[in-house]
Symmetry: C2
Subunit: 611 residues, 2 copies
């Protein structure tokens, strides 16, 4: 099975078209301006000297690379001469400043050239990976191959140093990413050597590697505690982990490598069953930005970096090529509508790095007495810029390429994984998807006269016991997909049950025990203090039967108003404990999680006290 690229997809008016417009008209420029202000573009001039401001940083190449890739994805669909010109300038600087032997890294070249390929943790191969992805995307979008050639030359050097000679001070990337980038390059150029190099990094990983002695040090943090094929549980830094797992899935797929496949399925199961937030967020702790132990899913302290949710989508989308299983599409859907999308404000101008499932006043400012020992705790306001700015350009490239996740196909069947209003070109003919999803559960699928084959429609987990396909074409449901034979022009309607639903967590999840989350279709909802008053923990809801949907013009969302109860604060007389408690009836307004914290700093929670 092959995923159908966003290049063969046209997103039509609807939820995602709106997000893409803001992305292409606002966010991409916002990110560019912040990067310009902080010297990230200037770094490519290689003119920085000790004493000047804006010292280049080890991960700046990757920031610019993701911005270039975003531009490439945007101009695939609509010309943007101003953005394209900026990219060309950067590429010219790359050409000018590339070393004779192919090396390119704006930090090491300028700040410590004598130390290239000596520090595993310093993101050198990660930067090379992102620049490679950008080069591939820019070549696809414009046909310009200058950046591609620069990167191939650099990668030839990397191939020699790391694979042929094994002469660097380390053997595999400290921050994985280059693996999946090399697979993309192979698919673009057809040159097997890039696939070989990706496989080399995966084969070599966890084989008696030195772990750098630094602040975050540990072999699990780097996914180097075991050879990749023996890694069965998700460990360490969550972004690094899922970029690696995506690369492993690529190699497993390309080489039909059974041991690697087995590891990938096990890693996915571990995340899906034990380490994933309801929002599709991953990375349970800020300490090491890492996975922790099963069922440890704290809400306020959740790390759930935007990049980690994106990395999980990359991993899951590669997994769904290897096995038909609606869980992959469910995870992608959960992430894109919640833990990914929450990473950017509704106006496209500010960002979350961490996307925790609650912000509570009473938890903020802990350890105020010991400033240097403060527990890492998420900011309850969105930021225009971060010094570690991986998330903003990651979300711009992700939204621009959301079409990547809609369909895949094999010899006989086109699989529709995500219900995004679009036109999709497949080898079996064109498909139209018309829908107001996720706020409307009705999806119309239209095939053209030339279409021949099976359609497989993913039945999302929330609707698996209650959906309808019209006309009833004798659809057979298997592995979470409804299969329909189609010949020629046809029109189907699938009605998914997007009524609000209570969700409960496994009681092994300490913080969520006795609590309930409300979802509507793929959307996770949350309560904010701006709607519901200061103390969100005083709210209690029972069965989700008495509710009302209400359009929120300010946020552009459909909110859920539920009848609930509020614990009377007076019982506690300003103190901590009481032998009695009293509730009074109240209405609780819930908004989609992706729209949280768009009205200034306030408290927010996904998991409410339940009856």
């Amino acid at each position: 099975m092959e995923n159908i690229s966003f290049r063969d997809v046209t997103i039509k008016d609807g939820f995602w078209r709106d997000r893409q417009k803001i992305n292409a008209e606002k966010t991409i420029y916002n990110v560019r301006d912040r990067f310009a202000e902080t010297g990230r573009f200037d770094a490519f001039r290689f003119e920085w000297k000790e004493g000047m401001e804006n010292r280049p940083h080890i991960f700046w190449d990757s920031d610019i690379a993701k911005w270039i890739e975003s531009v490439a994805f945007i101009i695939e669909k609509e010309p943007r001469p101003d953005l394209e010109k900026k990219v060309d300038e950067v590429v010219d600087l790359m050409e000018k400043n590339q070393w004779e032997d192919g090396y390119f890294n704006s930090y090491f070249s300028v700040c410590e050239p004598e130390n290239r390929f000596t520090n595993r943790d310093w993101h050198e191969l990660y930067c090379a990976g992102h620049l490679t992805e950008a080069a591939v995307a820019y070549y696809y979008a414009t046909g310009k191959d200058k950046m591609l050639k620069i990167m191939c030359k650099y990668l030839d050097l990397i191939d020699r140093i790391f694979r042929v000679e094994d002469s660097a001070a380390f053997h595999t990337p400290g921050h994985e990413e280059i693996e999946l980038a090399l697979v993309k390059l192979y698919r673009c150029t057809g040159e097997k050597k890039w696939l070989n190099l990706a496989k080399h990094f995966i084969d070599r990983r966890g084989m008696q590697e030195e772990v750098p002695e630094d602040f975050w040090c540990s072999s699990r943090y780097y996914q180097s505690h075991l050879p990749c094929r023996e890694q069965l549980t998700a460990e360490g830094h969550s972004v690094r982990a899922c970029y690696l797992y995506a690369g492993m899935a690529d190699i497993a797929f390309e080489y039909d490598d059974e041991a690697l496949k087995k590891a990938c399925f096990s890693l996915f199961d571990d995340i899906y069953n034990k380490k994933m937030y309801l929002t599709g967020g991953i990375g349970q702790t800020a300490v090491g930005e890492a996975f922790t132990v099963p069922y440890d899913l704290p809400n306020s302290r959740a790390y759930t970096e935007t990049c980690a949710a994106i990395a999980l989508v990359y991993f899951a989308s590669r997994m769904q090529k290897m096995r038909v299983d609606a869980r992959f599409g469910d995870v992608i859907e959960r992430a894109i509508f919640n833990g990914v999308l929450s990473g950017v404000s509704l106006d496209g101008g500010s960002f979350f790095y961490k996307n925790p499932l609650e912000f509570l006043h009473a938890e903020r400012g802990r350890n105020v007495g010991v400033p240097r020992q403060q527990e890492p705790f998420p900011e309850a306001v969105r930021q225009r810029v971060f010094s570690c700015s991986c998330c903003p350009p990651n979300i711009t490239r992700f939204i621009a390429s959301i079409g990547d996740y809609i369909c895949s196909e094999d010899e006989n069947t086109v699989y529709i994984h995500q219900y995004i209003a679009s036109t999709v070109k497949t080898a079996k003919g064109e498909i139209e998807i018309e829908t107001g999803y996720p706020y409307d559960g009705k999806v119309k699928i239209v095939t053209g006269a030339d279409f021949r084959g099976k359609l497989a429609l993913r039945i999302p987990g929330f609707s698996k016991d209650s959906f309808e396909i019209k006309p009833d074409a004798g659809a057979v449901v298997k592995d979470g997909y409804a299969y329909i034979d189609v010949a020629g022009a046809a029109e189907f309607e699938i009605n998914l049950d997007i009524s609000p639903k209570a969700v409960y967590a496994n009681p092994l999840v300490n913080e969520d025990a006795g609590r309930v989350a409300v979802t509507m279709g793929p959307l996770v909802y949350c309560a904010e203090s701006v709607d519901n008053g200061e103390n969100l923990r005083a709210l209690k809801i029972g069965k989700i039967t008495d509710f009302e949907r209400k359009f929120n013009a300010g946020l552009g969302t459909t909110d859920i108003i539920i009848k609930g109860r509020r614990l009377r604060q007076e019982t506690f007389e300003g103190g901590l404990y009481a032998y009695e408690r009293e509730y009074e009836p109240c209405e609780i307004r819930l908004i989609p999680f992706y729209a949280c914290i768009n009205r200034g700093e306030c408290d927010m929670t996904v998991w409410l006290v339940s009856d």
Copy 2:
């Protein structure tokens, strides 16, 4: 009002006599042996040299001091020649090794004599304080004044250096304790200079002090962020804080210092209303072993050091001398029956340093991937010894002197604060307290023929709406005390309502929202996995109406068996989230918190999911 000393109290058979027997027959020897093994006694020889094992430590003097004080408290009541001999040996070594000018500190003398009085954080004055308390106690118990003289000589030096000359590298103790010790010394010797020195340390504190630059550094950590009279909220290291607050209360009482009293009442309210666990534990975070922000009371991550609960009792018992208010007695009772007593195992042989309100498997081992960055997390097994061993000898001295908290008296009235079976000598005549409390709510108070005055009986918060005094002597209840006029031999019975009660936390306490704790009289109960199966978060209880009391021969406790429900794990099919949940009826066994983790490592929780 003056508190009546345990020296005027004879504890009779009952709950606390049992604890004292184990304390005097087992724990005191266990602590002695561990201290001997670790070189703490040998340190007093001043013979350690670089390269030898058991390097003296900055706080070892205080460990030995608390052990000596424990011995003194025990031999007040029954001779223990072996223990007394050991103390005499230590005192002889002190005499031999005291510096010409009076200085005594086994760490600085041996390891870095050139640095005495230079490092505020290194517990020098704290050690002096504990040695002073020990000297006073040993003098009271035995009439031997050698140690007392040694300490007076040392304190004369401290008085000169810190008060007269102000010539040390710092001005007030980094770890407070000496303040309350000096007040004890003043009361023992009648010498006003010791009171003056205590007052000096309190007056000087927070006046443009340098905060040492070390790992835990911050002025709040040291309660040095403000002058003492302006400190209105409890901040920083919780043990240091409450030792200071106890000293402040002493000085406020002795000097009738209104500004200091106001600060003390405000500090107490802040703890009582916003920062105290149901168990009387304080110190919400291991990071800085500190108070944090109001209503931040995490259960698994609670620091709640045994010493902190003890320090809170010291503070509260000084407060109840300044105002009649049953809240002080309530806090003392909550702490002594729960967060203090949990610090030692039922057999007296092992200890908790931290006394969190839950141990959950699913939370342990977090951040395993990043070993050097592990979040501090309590051990779920009791330890025979700690390298930082402040708690074991603190609990031995505390249990031996539990009689300190029973009564106080002013001109007209004897106040009975704690219902501990005992005979109490008061200025108004002897009082007998007969009771099976806390497992029996009936308390008999008997006065002798010579008794003249009022009795004030504390009505504990849990019983304030339901108690009975027989014969009905027209008791007037005010400020939580029932006042009875007594002349001559009399016998009263007070019946307190110790039926099991649900307790709810203010919903501002995030983790406890939607949860319930069960108490019986002053005892907080908890569920352990050894009784209730592995997943304690799956348990749910409603109203506490259907229960049974059951004696537990193994633990010597009276347990509560409640009808509850258990969330069916199967619903989750091994995964994280489900749209449905099912409960099945079950019995839940609750044991007193003080008896937790006495049957090997297991999960435990105080706060259960509530209907």
